[in-house]
Structures are given as C-alpha cells and as structure tokens.
Subunit: 430 residues, 2 copies
C-alpha cells in the first residue's frame, strides 16, 4: 500500500487529524535498539522516542513481559508480591519522602491521581502551572494545557499559570541570574495570590521538573527549590511531573535531581515500561493513605503483575547497562558538538537541555529572536529524509527536540552530527 493510500485508510479509521509526524509520514514495521525500520527496509536513527528508553524491543524487557504474561496477569485486588517488589524498588529510587506508589496506566492518569492526593491532603482546590504546560489529555488534566489552545475562563478558574522560568526569552533583558530567579518567583507568588483573591484555597503546583514541553529552558538557578518553598509556605504541595524527565533521561534518575529540589508528589510514565502502558504517582505513605481515604481509586489494568514485570526489567537494564552514565557522557558530547555547529549557524540561537534531552531554539535572526517554526520544521523533515527522526516542540513550535533512547551512543551522535550539518547547510543555501 502506498503512503497516501495508508493515510486515507488511517483518516477514515482513526479520524482526520489523528496526530502524525513528518510531511512524508514513515511506515514503521520494526524496531531494534536505537533503530527503526520502514516497510522498504530503510533504517532511521531514532532520536525522538523516550518511551522505549532502554532501546526498541530490548530482549530482557521483552522476555520479562513474556514470562509474566505466560504466568499471571490480573488486577490488583488480590495479593501479589511482584507488584509490591516493584513499588518498593521504585520508591527506593526516589528521594526519602516518597515511599508509596499509586499505579495507573498513563501519565495523564498519574497526574489525575497526583491532583487528587494534593487536594485530599491540603483540602485545597487550586493549582498553579506554567503558561506553556501540557500534562495530559483528560478533561481535568487538560485544564493545565496552555500550549496550542485557549482555555475557556470558566474551565480554568482553579488553575492559574505563571510564565515558565527561562534565560533565553527571559522576563527582563540583561538581568543577572539572581535577578531572574527573583522575577520568576514573584510570578509564582502572583499566581498563588490570584487564586487566594478569588477565594480558591491552594492545593499545589504541578510542573515538569525540567519544563520539557516548554522547550527545556535553562532555568535560573535556585528557582525550583525556592518555588517549592513558596508553594509549601502557601499551604500547597509541589508535584513534579517526571513523565518525560524521569528514568535517567537527564543523566540522573530524576529530573528533580538535575534541577535541584525534592517534590512532595511525583508522577511517572512514558519510559517506565519501555512501551508497556504503566505509570504511577508517588508520595509519602501518609499522603497516599489520605488519598485512599478520600477516593475509592481503582484502575483495572494498573498495579498488575505484567506492569510490574516490565517496569522491573526496565530498572534492571538501566542499572546493569549503566545507562545514567551513558546519558551523561553522550549527552554532554552531543551538546558540545552542537554548540560548535551553532557558532556558524545563525538560526540555531540556543542549545540547551539535560542529558539526552536537547532543545535548540530556531530563530529568524539572533538579534530579534523571532521564532522560526517553519525553519525548524524544514530541518526536521530534511533529517527524516536522511534517516534521522527528531521532532519540534515548545510553545511556538520552533524548538528542535532531540530525545533518543538512553542506549544512544557516541557513534550514533556522530552519524547524526554529520547529517545535521548537511541539513543546516542545505537550509542555509536553499
């Protein structure tokens, strides 16, 4: 079937506008490690997917799932030690206060649970979030969405946004790092005060630990721990969305390690099961008990032995293959080499990120900082044609997003760097 036939079939069966990547979509039939293969046998270096974090079809994860699927897969209203072992293993990877886990199937559901915990524990209703946030697709979590759509005022009364902290397009030009921190913290306080003025008691703050959907900004120092203090002082809890940031994406286990704070509640998802649907919220045992008292939460497919088997295998592989170290080394190397290219490439205005998660601002010129989403899109599609899959992101769609599986090595980075330089040259001479 041709691509256009497949697209017509897809439009009919899944609905026109079901999200798809690239001007010429790729028909992917096989994956292995950092490689994806299309129906013609062409291979693509996967520099986008964080879900298959230990690599596509990692044999240990595949085998662990198969062993469990052959043995038992059932809901969580029976006792099952595998699920408890996994919960304990996850909690042990987290900062001390986070000892208990509520499993779900998706990051959206984990954020639903986190909001529920914060509301149960604080008695509050209101939340603050960034002005370019995305935390999931349910009606409730969708109220936090500030990227690409307007929220009706009445839907969002309990959710107030503050400008996300950043250095590149900061609130004030030529401000020092310390001044920027104060400016952004003042915005956090303003958002809390707006809730208070409307008589809505604060339940907490929900942010991605590294502001991934905001385009991975360089966060002014001390912003995160001090924002957490402000939120706690106002009676709220600090929820770190680690759905993208977690599982060694940044070179440390959690995004909050990279940005220097300890959350009251964390949510986890995407990479957790290497593609098996599994997600979770973690908090102190007192908080989770309070949540359980308030809501009879049950999730049919969650806290299953199959989720636990996949999740446990992912942690094993991350540890046994020393992937945190790999992420740190290869991430630093790749970012360093990109910075060298940046010197001769006007549109590539800012290169930033953590570990194997890199964002690059694409602009029309560096003086005006005018975002160039079209230019970014051209680079993305040119790279796709060369066999390299990256994406674009950010509130203005002009940030190149590089986020390969954690098993991405220096040799893969070198292949990409050559293709990227070529693409950039083609774009500049086009």
């Amino acid at each position: 079937m041709t691509t256009s036939d497949l697209m017509a079939r897809r439009d009919h069966l899944l609905g026109e506008g079901a999200p798809i990547f690239y001007e010429r979509p790729v028909n992917i039939v096989r994956g292995e490690g950092v490689w994806l293969y299309d129906d013609s046998g062409k291979r693509y270096l996967d520099m986008y997917n964080n879900v298959p974090c230990v690599g596509h079809c990692h044999p240990r994860v595949v085998q662990a799932m198969h062993n469990q699927a052959q043995t038992l897969n059932v809901h969580s209203r029976y006792l099952n030690e595998g699920v408890l072992d996994y919960a304990e293993r996850l909690a042990d990877l987290h900062a001390d206060p986070l000892t208990s886990v509520v499993f779900t199937c998706t990051g959206t559901e984990a954020n639903e649970v986190a909001l529920g915990i914060a509301r149960a524990v604080t008695g509050g209703r209101g939340f603050i979030c960034s002005d370019s946030a995305y935390h999931g697709n349910s009606a409730e979590v969708g109220k936090f969405t500030r990227v690409g759509q307007q929220n009706e005022q009445d839907k969002a009364r309990e959710i107030r946004a503050f400008p996300f902290p950043q250095r590149y397009r900061s609130l004030q030009d030529h401000a020092s790092e310390g001044e920027l921190t104060e400016l952004y913290l003042a915005e956090v306080e303003t958002a809390i005060n707006r809730l208070r003025a409307d008589g809505i008691p604060l339940a907490g703050m929900l942010v991605c630990s590294i502001f991934a959907n905001e385009g991975l900004p360089s966060i002014p120092g001390e912003f995160m721990p001090r924002a957490a203090e402000i939120v706690r002082d106002a009676g709220g809890l600090f929820i770190a969305d680690e759905v993208q940031a977690g599982f060694c994406r940044t070179g440390t286990w959690w995004g909050y390690d990279a940005t220097g704070f300890v959350p009251d509640i964390v949510t986890m998802g995407k990479p957790m099961g290497n593609g098996m649907p599994v997600a979770a919220a973690a908090a102190s045992s007192e908080m989770v008990d309070e949540f359980r008292r308030n809501m009879r939460y049950f999730n049919t497919f969650a806290a299953s032995p199959l989720q636990a088997a996949a999740g446990m295998a992912v942690i094993d592989v991350i540890e046994d293959e020393a992937l945190a170290g790999n992420v740190d080394q290869v991430g630093n190397y790749l970012r360093g080499e990109l910075c060298k290219i940046q010197a001769g490439c006007e549109p590539m205005a800012d290169v930033r990120g953590h570990g194997l998660f890199i964002g690059m601002e694409w602009v029309k010129d560096r003086a005006s900082k005018t975002p160039d989403a079209e230019g970014a899109n051209t680079v993305v599609n040119r790279l796709r044609d060369k066999g390299f899959l990256i994406g674009s992101a950010g509130p203005m769609g002009n940030i190149l997003k590089i986020r390969p599986p954690l098993v991405f090595k220096r040799e893969h980075a070198d292949l990409f760097l050559t293709a990227f330089e070529e693409s950039v040259r083609q774009t500049q001479t086009a």
Copy 2:
C-alpha cells in the same frame, strides 16, 4: 511471607485502603484458563474476572503479544498497518454507524473521549446517567459516579441522574412491563428537562448497555431503544459503555445487541486485550473527525502495535473457539440451575443477567425486599474458602456477581453449583 505480613507491606507501599477482595485476601501467583492458583498451590475457580476473557494466559494471546513486543512497539504518530487492521476489525464487529475508533489505554480514558466526541458533535455540555452509575476514575468521568459516594452539587451540575430501569425494585409495584417502560422513560425526560431548565444544552446520555454496576437489572422492554430516541430528539447522542458488556459477555458481541438498541458512540475496555491495557471509543467517521478538529487528542501508549496485536488475538480466539455460543449455552444452563436453587433459598430473591454475567439479589426476606449486603458478603467469603471466586455489586452491595472468563464450561458450572448449594445451606443453618 504470611498474609498479614503481605497486607502490612501492601498498606505501606500502595496505601491503606487500596481495594482488595475477601476477608482473607488471596495471594495469587499463577493463572490458566478459568483457574487461579495461590502461593500454596490451592486452585480457585475464577468466576469474577472479565478482563482475561479468553482465559488467563491464553497461549495465542500471549504468543501474539510476544511476537509483537519482539518486533515493534511504538506510539501512533508513525504509520502502522497493524493498528489500522485492528481498528477495521473492531469497527466491522459493530453496528453500521460505528466506523471509526479512537484508542486509549483504559475504559476511563475511553469514556473521556466519548464525552469529548459528544460535546464536539452536539455543541452541548450536559449529560444524563443512571443514579447508580460508575464509568471510571478520572475527575471528569468520576462526576458520573453515583455508587457509594455523594457528589458535590457544583461538581455535578452538568450531569443529571435518572433512576435506572429495573423490574425487581421498580418505581411502581404491580406495574405492567409497558407501564414500567413509560415510567422510566418519563424519568429520562425529567433529567433532560432539568438540564434544559438550567440552561445547559444536552450533549448526551452515558449508560452501560446492561447496567452492570447497577446490578444487572431486568430492563423493562423497549426502554433502551426508546431512551435513545428521546435523547436524540433532545439533540444529544447516546453513548453505550461496553467496557463490561462488550466482547461476547452477554452471548452476543455487544451488550447493545442484548438490550436492543444501536448507540451513537460506544466505549470498550476491560476484556479487549485479555489483560493488556487497551480501550477505545468508536463512533461514525464524521463524529470522530469532528472530535479530532476540536481536540488535539494524543495518548502515548494507545493505538500501539502491541495493543493491536493483543486485541486482534482476542478477537481471533473468541471467533475460533466459538465463545459467543459457549457463553449463551453455559450462561443459560447456570442461570437455570440457580433458579432451581432459588426455589428453596429465601434470601436469593432475584436471579438475572445476560450470558455469563449473572446477578442475584440477596435479601433479608422476600416480602420486604430488604437488601442483605452482609449475607451476600458471607456467601462470597464462604465460596472463596471453598475455592470459588465471585464478587458482590450493586448500589447496596447485596447483589452476588458472577462473571467468569468466557471459556467457562458446563463442568465448571457444575463444580460451582455444588459449592454454592453447600454455602447457602451453611448460611441458612448458621
């Protein structure tokens, strides 16, 4: 580890009050077909679980998942024929207007999508549901929950409930079938009118096609198709929640076949992947297109090749093992035999249901119809000790719920009937 040690560990890791079955919880370590095994090797006849619909660890589903997990498992923003084949297969199993599918991971998420479709298509906001409904665990879908918890008025303004249709505890004693239908339809109209009076335009009605959580009532004839007409005449869409009713549970593919109507939107979940997290909403292609235009819906783990492989294998097994026929035959046999026992068992006031989904009202005495949740609970726990797993349900918790995997045979029914008679005798002489 002893059961009480495991429970203490579970309370700490998953939170006190995480739902669990039976006074003496069972530590399940293995499943096969209709059997579950605990850590001592004791076997239990599973007469509760609808998720492993083709039997625990069915080798064809296990192998299909394994083959796919070894080959490719990635999100849906690339083309993939397996997902399209599965969407087409699902749509072909449904009534004609339902041609397009939005995949999710859980039934809750499928209902979120269904609400979104109905709101996008009608421009309305309000929904009506039964007064003992449960459709999922998110904040939005949780607004429909009427079992076991009160909703704050302000949360539920857009959701109005009507008394669910039933013959056993009907709105009026000694009414004819036709009179009951009219009485319950008038309640549907009242609920719609209450929305209208508050200026909330109707988006639709969301009900389980067989009112499973309501306790599987015997629905007065013609109620369902005529309720659908009333909703459509008022500008709304009729959403059938088939998360429990679907996939041959009733002896026909869909609950709506059993209760005689065609919905505008259906949601599916639990049995869909035999334990693999997969769920979906289906509607006409025009409706799904309208939904896509309104919301940029994306679900990371959904519409994946792994979901499609599991889901396709489940359909294959249901067809190849002729499970619809099995459900019909064994269900009728089991219900018939239970009715014989009923004659000599005062508390067993009403035996009802569809296919392999049976509900039995447990009462203190038949004249008063006083619900006896405690008595039902005693039977459930006594059967657990004998190695038979059933549950209780319904708005008052007094309805015994029998819902085995679809591969449950007459020989299994006979084992159960013997144990059930014994349990009932023990209860009566206790």
